[in-house]
Symmetry: C2
């Protein structure tokens, strides 16, 4: 049940959940792209997106994590300053030890209702 | 890599994605409970929640699905009448062939912004 992709995704998860933004972003491939509730983002766009989240993050608790050779999937509960319970689903595709693609889903309604993040345009 | 829990979760997924609400709900244990963006729900509360979603659902595309003995995790893209792209993360705990617990995350902001579902109180 070993999963090289999950190993990378968990290293990324561990980095950001410890507020190590630079280390977290080091797991992204140069051509990284993510599909988020706020639109598609490359690595440059993801930095302020993730950085803003880390500013309000209190902790993250992993509910489940699975993976195979090239993909990984996680579900975790984020506790943020404005929102105690904000679950997140995140999918990854990994090539050569780097995350080349991700998809993330969280409830923007709760976070935006709490004034936690900027409104999407 | 066989997963009894994922088999049940995928049968549930197949049922609702084919708009078979009764069959879908038949996979829930009597003491089923779910943690959703609209609060905790038992099976009785989940029926109108899922039923309302099926009324706007055009199709669902599975992005990833994993499982082990007792848990399963999915990520899928829902295409709804008001919102073409609405990803969902869903986690399941299964006992004796029935779903006893689930957690689901989707972006209420997008759906509510589109007027797709009732505002949470």
């Amino acid at each position: 049940m070993s999963s090289p992709a999950l190993d990378v995704a968990l290293a990324y998860y561990k980095a950001w959940s410890n507020k190590n933004l630079d280390e977290a972003l080091s797991y992204f491939a140069d051509d990284f792209v993510s599909r988020t509730p706020e639109g598609r983002m490359d690595a440059a766009a993801y930095r302020p997106f993730l950085g803003g989240f880390l500013e309000i993050l209190k902790k993250a608790d992993l509910v489940a994590a699975f993976g195979d050779e090239n993909t990984a999937l996680m579900y975790y509960d984020a506790e943020t300053l404005p929102v105690p319970y904000s679950p997140v689903g995140e999918w990854f595709r990994v090539e050569n030890g780097k995350i080349v693609e991700s998809r993330i889903v969280f409830d923007n309604f709760t976070l935006q209702g709490a004034g936690a993040i900027a409104k999407v345009s």
